[in-house]
Amino acid sequence: MNPYSLYIHIPFCAQKCAYCDFLSFATDTTTKQDYVESLCYEIQAYSVGLKAPIQTIFIGGGTPSVLTVDQLQQLFETIHQYVTLQNDAEISIEVNPGTVTEELANWMQQSPINRVSIGLQSTHNSHLKTLGRIHTYEEFLETYVRLRKAGIENINIDLMFGLSNQTIEEWRRTLFDVGQLEPEHISAYGLIIEEDTPFYEQYEKGLLNLPSEEIERDMYHLTKQVLEEKGYHRYEISNFVKDGFECQHNLTYWTDKNYIGIGLGAASYINGTRYSNTSDMGKYLERSSHIDEIRCLTDAPSKKRRMEERIFLGLRLDQGIHLETFNKNFDYPFEDQWKEALDKMIGEGLLVIDEGYLKLTERGIDVSNYVFTAFL
């Protein structure tokens, strides 16, 4: 029986960031409590049919750390009661600087949580302000130290580059400073201007001074260079890590494994079928114990599409796609089927086949959407 991963969505934030298009919003105490209870009902409902063990849990958001210790405790008690966890399960939680109290850190120490992801984004307070973050770099440092003291031995720090008015030197500085802290994992994302965000409006009005494509890519390549000097290696387009600390939960997305999403708007992928939970809070709170009512099937991809998705997800990883395994899993000859695309992309220096693995080159990463579309 294949193990599952569990994603639990906490759609609450103290304040929404200017670039964020995730399902999250500020809310009141009562809704938070009702929501946690609904999450527990949904977990309970899943447990009836779910016999497989859970190998990773990721509590994401929003900002999960806006929940109280009691609420988190309640959530984990439910998980403990209804779900079979593997012994070595990776259990992550996302936090934002300024929301991790001493009490929360202490609770974490004795909780099953063994990985914490901190949304820092930038070490420059001016950029943090533009991004709509509610914390300063100094507050982040406090949070980081507090978590370390609480014995968290696997920490990720989220960073962003390609920001309005950001210089390459500022980015180098950010990477350097964060590297000095020696977190186990660093995610470095190029800023994407998503529709329906304040940034999108500003962008449309020409109010953002974004770096050119060229500079943005230089920043990206600089990331790899600086972090490698600090003992990290890249394992996915935007993810860097010290040996052995790859995020097991996120790997399930890129390697076509099953995951169940719990909570408002959460996505699931179960035996080749994609589902999505309702985004209607009222409905969720009311009916979360009836999975069929809050969840709808969003996609049941054909074999061909599953293979295509496997390709564009798998190529995000530095190790690439093991062609022999792919052929075996899908009972399909990759190199014959996509010969034309393969030849073209290898010819253009965007893909390589290295010891049986198909991988993007550095240039291939920069234009990876172009590469992926060749396989659709």
Binding site: E216, D299, N369, T373
Partner: protein, 600 residues
């Protein structure tokens, strides 16, 4: 109905002076339609016409009016297109009338098209009856407008009805004036048949419906008729009158009457506007004067955006042609755009109307190439060719000289913009002819301009430089020798045939530079650098470069993102499919059209 009680007339006006509104009002007041049936501008039946506020095809309507003298009169109102592209159609519609109502806006006064229409009406010996409209406007100045009409046109206007067609003010005065001012038709109903075709429409059941004015003789159901220009013969199946939006069959149309006939005619081109119908076996000696075959002035390539829709495009053109004898087209092939058609139009507006009708009524996405006029090329071997597609231009060594069509343009413009407009005309290679001040604040500028300088965006430029106050009319005056060259556009070193055009040598550099700049913004980045060049022969005169793509990557792709990101990739792929392949470069359809508007 006696001839004395018939009035055949048109309404002429500058665009937006209220011609259609007055027509609606007349129809309403003569009681043929109930309030409920009245939609805005009932004469303009085509959806497109209504949106643009213009009348494309002439139409006619028969109104019954009981005048103050107690007599019943039949009014045949013949609607005319209001744009210079359709001048010939206007003149034929006018030829079917004895009089014309000249509508002048009480605030704006006389405009360029007012003058042009008056000249046309005078050429056709019509009695012109001025009406001053829009007196409800706060800025209305009927007194000034009366003076303008008397001074500039030389028409007595002191008795002209002052009305608001929109509010229905004083419109009865117009009806009475029609009875008294416009002459009744004359003509012998027993003479050999002589009937003028002034329009026709295609009906899928009845075939072509011919709109005609009987000048002499009588046309009956069963008559054997002959078109004197096309020599085609038919048997009349139905005759009748026009009601708004419908036809009323009758037994016969006598001299002086306006109506329609059907005769199982399959092709609109058999019923040329301006042609004379007569009766086989009892033919009239002379056809009516004024018939001429209409020749397109502007050509462009029309291609289906999706190559597989070529046949659909052909069907659409075939059907449009049924109702539009002036539209011409023949198949052509472009390296960049595949299979399509070279189409000929009366003018740019005609082109735009056809383009929109194809897209709207036939639901086809099309790509249009830059419009071109017809150039005459004198070859060194003595041969003369008419060039409709720039690609067919012979080698420079084979060309003795080239000629381009010229127009005489009359531009009416408020005084303060005279300088600006003279600059514009100068810039468009215009030759100043003269200027009249038609009143203290407005001037009528006359220029000779090359047609190819006005077919792109002259009208837009005119409007934008005068805050919309300038009005404009033109007519073709002939060909003159000119120093013309073909400007080619090269994308990644390959000539894109669909982008080539003919231009005056002195303007080539500027145009070339603008085009490459524009294309630079339209062509997406590729994996490699794409040079865009403009050249004359082998000489490159302008160059821009689309830099190679540096970034096309999604930073994040987690569980909830996958379906969305997949859609994004699919969209990207679809976008690619819709592009045109020029060598190894993908060019968006839009790029082919963007070069039409270089002034933006």
């Amino acid at each position: 109905m006696k001839q004395e009680n018939i009035r055949n007339f048109s309404i002429i006006a500058h665009i937006d002076h209220g011609k259609s509104t007055l027509a609606d009002r007349l129809i309403q007041m003569t009681g043929l339609l109930t309030e409920r049936e009245m939609s805005e501008q009932v004469l303009d039946t085509m959806e497109l016409e209504r949106e643009r506020g213009i009348t494309i095809k002439a139409q006619a309507v028969r109104l019954v009016y009981t005048a103050n003298d107690g007599e019943e009169y039949v009014f045949n109102l013949i609607d005319t297109p209001g744009h210079v592209d359709f001048n010939y159609e206007v003149s034929r519609a006018l030829a079917a009338c004895e009089g014309a109502i000249l509508v002048v806006d009480a605030a704006q006064g006389i405009e360029a098209q007012t003058m042009a229409n008056v000249y046309l009406a005078l050429e056709n010996d019509l009695e012109i009856m001025p009406v001053i409209n829009k007196i409800d406007l706060p800025s209305a100045n009927p007194k000034r407008v009366i003076e303008e009409i008397e001074d500039i046109i030389g028409l007595e206007a002191i008795d002209a009805p002052q009305i608001s067609a929109k509010d229905g003010i004083n419109v009865e005065a117009v009806l009475e004036a029609i009875v008294h001012k416009i002459p009744a038709p004359q003509g012998d109903s027993s003479a050999p048949l002589k009937a003028l075709i002034f329009d026709s429409v295609y009906d899928p059941y009845k075939g072509v419906i011919v709109f005609c004015r009987v000048m002499e003789g009588t046309i009956r159901k069963g008559s054997k008729i002959k078109m004197m220009a096309t020599k085609k013969e038919f048997e009349v199946i139905e005759v009748g009158y026009f009601a708004p939006g419908s036809f009323i069959p009758a037994d016969a149309l006598e001299a002086g009457f306006v109506g329609y006939i059907t005769a199982s005619i399959k092709n609109v081109s058999d019923t040329q506007v301006g042609d004379t119908m007569t009766e086989v076996g009892n033919e009239t000696k002379n056809a009516l004067a004024g018939y001429k075959k209409v020749n397109p002035m502007v050509y462009c390539g029309i291609y289906p955006a999706d190559g597989s829709k070529y046949q659909d495009l052909r069907d659409a053109l075939d059907k449009l042609k049924l109702n539009d004898a002036a539209l011409q087209y023949e198949a052509e092939t472009s390296v960049a755009l595949g299979f399509g058609f070279r189409c000929g139009f009366l003018g740019l507006l005609h082109l735009e109307i056809i383009q929109e009708r194809i897209e709207r009524e036939y639901n086809l996405d099309i790509v249009t190439t830059a419009p071109s006029v017809i150039y005459k090329v004198q070859k060194t071997n003595g041969e003369e060719i008419s060039l409709a597609n720039p690609i067919d231009l012979p080698e420079p060594s084979e060309i003795q000289h080239m000629e381009e069509p010229m127009v005489k343009a009359e531009i009416m413009v408020p005084k303060e913009y005279v300088g600006t407009i003279m600059d514009l005309c100068q810039d468009r290679r215009g030759t100043y002819i003269h200027m009249d001040y038609i009143e203290e604040s407005r001037a009528l500028l006359t220029y000779e301009l090359p047609l190819n300088e006005i077919i792109y965006d002259f009208f837009d430029a005119l409007k934008s430089r005068t805050k919309g106050y300038a009005s404009f009319d033109y007519h073709l005056i002939g060909y003159v020798e000119s120093d013309l060259v073909r400007l080619d556009v090269l994308i990644n070193k390959e000539i894109v045939d669909a982008l080539s055009f003919i231009v005056h040598r002195e303007k080539a550099y500027e145009r070339g530079r603008k085009i490459v700049e524009k294309l630079k913004n339209e062509i997406p980045r590729h994996m490699f650098e794409v040079p865009i060049q403009a050249s004359i022969g082998n000489k490159v005169i302008a160059r821009e470069t689309v830099r190679a793509m540096r970034k096309d990557v999604l930073a994040k792709c987690y569980g909830g993102d996958i379906s969305r990101k997949r859609k994004l990739l699919e969209k990207q792929k679809e976008g690619k499919k819709r592009m045109r392949q020029v060598g190894s470069v993908e060019v968006p359809q839009k790029a082919f059209m963007s070069i039409l508007k270089l002034d933006e």
